[in-house]
């Protein structure tokens, strides 16, 4: 019996994917259930004042969905490029040690350095131009 269990259970995608899916489903069900319970037992007495947006007790002025500062945005741009860079570096980094053990370390090291140097150059450029500053670039 056990042999059958372990042989069927050790197929890679099964062991790998099922727990991920199960946890995702549990996340939704368990905490959705908590919300449902709260919905069932909580009092419901809506009023205009309660469903007003909080603005320190004043009547809210206008909507919050308006233009926003571009500084947040430049950060996002820098982030996304670094994110992709790490995504590309990770496969290379994970084979680095075995390749060093095989004696090809210097070759891989030079490749890594030249890849990262380009990105570091970009960061240095932004730094020098003041795009990484939160305040200064607007003083000019």
């Amino acid at each position: 019996m056990n042999a059958a269990v372990s042989s069927s259970v050790t197929s890679p995608s099964l062991h790998v994917l099922t727990p991920l899916i199960v946890f995702m489903v549990i996340a939704v069900l368990l905490f959705g259930g908590a919300l449902l319970v709260a919905y069932l037992i909580s009092p419901k007495a809506p009023s205009r004042q309660k469903s007003m947006i909080y603005e320190c007790g004043e009547i809210p002025v206008g909507t919050a969905w308006s233009m926003f500062n571009v500084r947040f945005y430049v950060i996002g741009l820098v982030f996304i490029v670094f994110d992709v860079e790490t995504a590309l570096l990770i496969p290379v980094a994970s084979v680095y040690r075995t390749l060093v053990a095989e004696g090809q370390g210097l070759y891989v090291f030079i490749i890594l350095i030249s890849f990262m140097a380009v990105i570091i150059e970009g960061l240095a450029y932004l730094w020098k131009k003041g795009d990484l500053d939160w305040v200064k670039s607007y003083k000019k």
Binding site: S13, L14, V16, L17, T18, I21, T63, W65, S66, M67, F68, N69, V70, F72, Y73, V74, G76, L77, V78, F79, I80, V81, D83, V84, E85, A87, L88, I90, P91, V92, A93, S94, V95, L99, V108, I111, S114, F115, M116, V118, I119, E121, G122, Y125, L126, K129, D131, S137, Y138, K140
Partner: protein, 182 residues
Amino acid sequence: MLPEIVLLFSAFMVFLGGILLISTKNLMHSCIFLLMCLFGVAGVYASLGAEFLAVTQIIVYIGGIVILMLFAVMLTGGKEFISRLHKVLNLAPLMGDKSTYMKGSIVGLIIFGGLSAFFYQLLKVLPLKEQQVSDYKIIGHSLLTDNLLAFELSSFLLLGALIGAAIIAKPEKVSESKPTDI
């Protein structure tokens, strides 16, 4: 059995997300349904055995591109912009008018039909066999050998994107009359 379930569930997410994406009028909601769609695509990768690709899809799209899009929708006025445009320019909202919508849907349906028929014929001809999909370590090896040039050039592409985007997005000198802060 489980990869099939994952695949079916991902397909459900892709199709539902796609249809909601194109039918909602709110750009913010559209981005959220795009997220759903892309999560489904990540599920497809996972069910095809490419876990690294699936996770990269999640980290780049959901953690990066969708947040950036939401930022951009925010920055360009979000929902208020739609209503203002509606009044001032007397244009239909961002969906285009009815005839554009019809034309677009028809074009989409034609492309979908054509492509799916083509793939059907193609799959009939091709010798299908469940191949071994390599993990990220083999990808690392291939980035260092076969795809070395692409790997190195991509760093230049990213550098260009970084600097170009920063220069383009950088605001001009802020005039005193127009405050940019909330």
